[in-house]
């Protein structure tokens, strides 16, 4: 679920504020180092929470094995050791890129991450594209027509996209465009034939659109794109609404700033005031807050992938959760944590780059 709280006044200081006067290079280093504690905290938290529920072996097989068999399995996997030892061991293997093995289908977790990660990345990219294309221009329109009809309609639209759970949007889209109208496929990342064809390609990226484009096969490209429309739209609308509101709020702020008034007093036309003078300063906080949306985007991805049977990490996560395969869950969630921390770093860097007060 995405959060609106991030617009609450005073909750977020812009990275620009923090970076001002520090020197850009220095800021980069300091900000980069801040990733480490964040990831550490999250990974530890996930470890702790998962262990509070018991050990993975009992969770997955508890009802199918005798106590002796269970004990043997537990000992073999090292779950009878002290928690601290297990924790340090876990951190050590994480640091070397070893995420452990899944319990239910006994494959390396890294293999799961590698296989399904690309699908989630692909979905997230479609969603971000949708969000940017819809959210930014509409936010600018809403701010320029503040408190008049277009603004009211757009605000309502933004609130609706927020109020509608992403899986309900998905179900509605499916119901209308896939089932009733039959225009688009209801689920999956590609038709079975295309999927097999793409997997047969030499050196695949796992991102179907790229693979299809590389194969140059027209049918494959259309098929992949047709499958992408509904999930991309469902997840994208969620972020688009937040983006629209953010752009609107910040643009209203900068449009009433004195420097815009000053430009107006020199005869600059209203359209240019919005597109040039007010937009760039408004984007700095927008970019920052958008970075925090990555967390919401990942949460939304889990739901969207489940709705559309889009076999990405979110779909797999839901699956492993239902079969109580904790090492797999732990691995996927840890990866999400790293992704969030790294994106937030990148976003802070971008925000700082837009702001000359940081660069010089």
């Amino acid at each position: 679920m995405s959060t609106l709280t991030q617009e609450t006044p005073g909750a977020v200081g812009t990275p620009a504020d923090r970076a001002a006067g520090l020197g850009f290079a220095r800021y980069l280093v300091v900000r980069f180092l801040l990733i480490i504690p964040t990831v550490l905290i999250l990974v530890s938290l996930v470890f702790l929470l998962m262990r509070l529920t018991g050990d993975p072996i009992s969770a997955a097989f508890g009802d199918r094995l005798t106590p002796d068999q269970l004990q043997a399995k537990l000992h073999q996997a090292g779950y009878d050791r002290p928690l601290l030892t297990q924790y340090l061991d876990y951190l050590r293997s994480l640091a070397t890129g070893d995420f452990g093995r899944t319990v239910t289908d006994n494959q390396p977790v890294t293999h799961v991450l590698g296989t399904y990660g690309a699908a989630t990345v692909e979905l997230a990219c479609y969603a971000l594209l949708v969000a940017l294309v819809i959210g930014v221009p509409l936010g600018m329109v809403a701010a320029s027509y503040r408190d008049r009809a277009p603004d009211a309609v757009l605000r309502l639209f933004a609130i609706l996209t927020y109020a509608t759970p992403v899986f309900f949007v998905g179900l509605l889209l499916k119901l209308v465009f896939a089932i009733r109208l039959g225009w688009l496929p209801a689920s999956g990342r590609a038709s079975t034939g295309v999927q097999l064809f793409l997997q047969d390609q030499t050196s695949t990226t796992g991102v179907y659109l790229i693979d299809a484009l590389r194969s140059g096969d027209g049918t494959a490209i259309t098929d992949v794109l047709r499958h992408a429309v509904l999930p991309g739209l469902a997840l994208g609308l969620l972020v688009a609404g937040v983006l629209l509101r953010l752009v609107r709020t910040n643009l209203i702020g900068t449009l009433s700033a004195e420097y815009v008034e000053a430009a107006r007093s020199r005869g600059v036309a209203p359209l240019r005031l919005v597109t040039r003078h007010a937009t760039r300063p408004a984007l700095i906080p927008v970019v920052t807050v958008l970075g925090l949306q990555v967390a919401g985007l990942l949460g939304g991805a889990v739901l969207t992938e489940t709705t559309f049977e889009w076999r990405g990490l979110g779909y797999e996560l839901a699956h492993y959760l239902t079969v109580r395969d904790f090492p797999a869950v732990q691995g996927i969630v840890a990866l999400f944590a790293v992704v969030v921390a790294v994106t937030n770093f990148l976003v802070d860097v971008v925000a700082a780059l837009i702001d000359p007060r940081v660069r010089y």
């Binding site: 008034e261 000053a262 007093s265 020199r266 600059v268 240019r272 702001d355």
Partner: protein, 556 residues
């Protein structure tokens, strides 16, 4: 020659939740080419609204009646800003009249270069030819307003310029469109006095070098005396008096003008009356030696040394004035004495006891009163005035009991000439001056031996300032407390202080009896400070401009 600007029967109302509020009520004004008309008045007088209406910059909530006519100075001004179509209004903005704002750092867009912002005006009016030519023009104008190294500065962002340079850039943006009239809204209020002098000089040059007329909005009578040809005095949305500057200062006709001029502290016209009560032999209230205060840097940033080896003392019953420009460390010293800011180095003795980091709270709490700069924010908005004034008593003298505390709070209100009925009001229900009186009452609740007043009148209008300063003086004589009076305003300090310490970048530039330091300054920086202060007397101010050094010192 005919007028550039003529305002006829201007009325402006603002729509609010509680109905229409009139801001301007029937103003008539005109500005001739090359003329400087000063529009003076206190806050809420409608001067800024009048100025903004010249460029049609009023918010949507404003309802406007009357006519605001702009012309090129060659024929009668014929274009009414208030009724002009949007496109025509845009064409008039910047070319027929241009605006200079109070706060240059908010009037410049932080994410675009100075040069880009300057050429935006040219671009909007289709002037200056190609992009390269416009840029050359921008460099040229930055040079003309006295920005050093304009070819480099043109590519700089606002935060890379000093406050004075920013204001120069804003003025360059106005001049670049060959405007005949500059509307300057408090153009020097946000600046230090030495920078103010430079900007005033530049505005003088706007008229002499470029023939530009200026509509100057200000509350500062010194600035008026320095720059204006004619003065219009506004009060409650109306112009009460208009006169040539020398006539106005010499013989103000309207009672309000007389009151206003009387309230302005006249620098160089004598200091505090009465003998010094200080006993040189007595124990010092404050003794600082080699005081150092650093503000630590965050996140690996370098720290900032606000106070750098300052030594001074305050004797019992003495008022010490601490003056300096922004960043001089004057407020930091006050906060350090009050224990609000940690001392980094040196010694600080309060009431004869050394103040160390660990011992500050128990010993000095309740023995120091503090009056803050902004009366609006120095009261907890959720407590009544009586509750706020009673806080010191509740904390330190709880044994008195609720009734006695309440009675004392009420008598404190009386001591600062506030009616008892105000006790149960909330801070936002009081005016600025009343709040500052209540601030004095709270500071004096425990009868402290030392009062620290940090710019106590700088947020107030001049007539209110005069009353608060009088009250301060009376109470000080009556109660005999020592005081540290922090201010940027030399005229105010001259009025209240026995001795003065002049601070410059965290160090003491000069120290001594008030009349000596401000009357015949020895230090270069103090001289500059004194010379830069415009006196509210056009005749004397004109003399000072010609002979800055001799006339910088106290007149008569």
């Amino acid at each position: 020659m005919t007028d550039l600007l003529r305002i006829e029967e201007l009325h402006v109302d603002f729509a609010t939740d509680t109905g229409a509020v009139p801001a301007v009520r029937g103003v008539n004004l005109s500005v001739a080419p090359g003329e400087v008309l000063a529009l003076v008045g206190e806050s809420g007088s409608g001067k800024t609204v009048t100025a903004r209406s010249v460029l049609g910059l009023l918010p949507d909530t404003a309802t406007v009646r009357g006519r605001v006519l702009l012309g090129a100075g060659t024929s009668e001004p014929g274009e009414d800003v208030l009724t002009a179509p949007a496109a025509r209004l845009r064409a008039l903005r910047g070319t027929h009249a241009a605006m200079v704002f109070q706060e240059p750092s908010t009037a410049l867009n932080p994410v675009f270069t100075i040069g880009w912002q300057l050429t935006e005006g040219l671009r909007a009016h289709g002037r200056g030819g190609s992009k390269a030519e416009r840029r050359a023009l921008a460099v040229d104008w930055l040079d003309k307003v006295g920005i050093p190294d304009p070819a480099t500065r043109v590519d700089h962002y606002p935060h890379q310029l000093s406050g004075g340079q920013k204001q120069r850039a804003v003025i360059a943006m106005a001049l670049a469109l060959d405007t005949r009239l500059i509307v300057a809204d408090e153009p020097t209020t946000a600046l230090d006095v030495t920078v103010q002098a430079e900007i005033l000089e530049l505005l003088h040059r706007c008229r002499t070098d470029f023939g530009t007329a200026v509509l100057l909005i200000t509350h500062n009578m010194g600035v008026v005396a320095d720059l204006a040809d004619r003065v219009a005095v506004m009060r409650a949305g109306q112009v009460v008096e208009q006169a040539p500057v020398r006539d106005l200062f010499a013989a103000p006709a309207h009672p309000y003008t007389r009151k206003l001029l009387a309230a302005v502290p006249h620098f160089g016209t004598g200091g505090r009356a009465g003998p010094q009560t200080a006993d040189v032999q007595a124990q010092h209230v404050v003794r600082a030696s080699g005081l150092v205060v650093d503000y630590p840097g965050r996140l690996g940033r370098k720290g900032f040394r606000a106070v750098d080896g300052v030594s001074f003392e305050i004797r019992p019953g003495e008022v010490l004035g601490l003056v300096g420009e922004s960043g001089s460390g004057k407020t930091t010293i006050g906060r350090a004495i009050a224990g609000l800011t940690a001392v980094t180095g040196g010694q600080l003795e309060l009431f004869g006891e050394p103040l160390t980091r660990n011992s500050r709270k128990p010993r000095t709490a309740g023995r120091i009163g503090y009056v803050f700069q902004d009366p609006a924010t120095s009261f907890n908005p959720l407590l009544t005035i009586a509750e706020s004034i009673a806080e010191p008593l509740v904390v330190h003298r709880r044994e008195l009991g609720a009734q006695e505390i309440r009675a004392q709070a009420e008598s404190l209100l009386e001591a600062v000439r506030l009616p008892r009925a105000y006790a149960d009001r909330y801070p936002h229900e009081l005016s600025g001056g009343q709040r500052q009186r209540a601030g004095l009452a709270r500071a004096l609740a425990l009868r402290p031996r030392l009062l620290i007043a940090d710019e106590p009148t700088s947020a107030l209008d001049v007539s209110v300032q005069a009353k608060v300063l009088d009250l301060f003086g009376e109470l000080q004589r009556e109660l005999g407390f020592a005081a540290l009076f922090v201010s940027h305003d030399l005229a105010v300090v001259e009025q209240v202080a026995d001795r003065v310490v002049v601070l410059h970048r965290g160090r003491i530039a000069e120290e001594g009896p008030t009349s000596q330091v401000l009357g015949s300054p020895q230090d270069d920086y103090t001289r500059r400070l004194v010379a830069a202060l415009p006196v509210p007397d056009p005749v004397r101010q004109a003399r000072r401009q010609q002979h800055p050094v001799e006339e910088g010192v106290a007149g008569s």
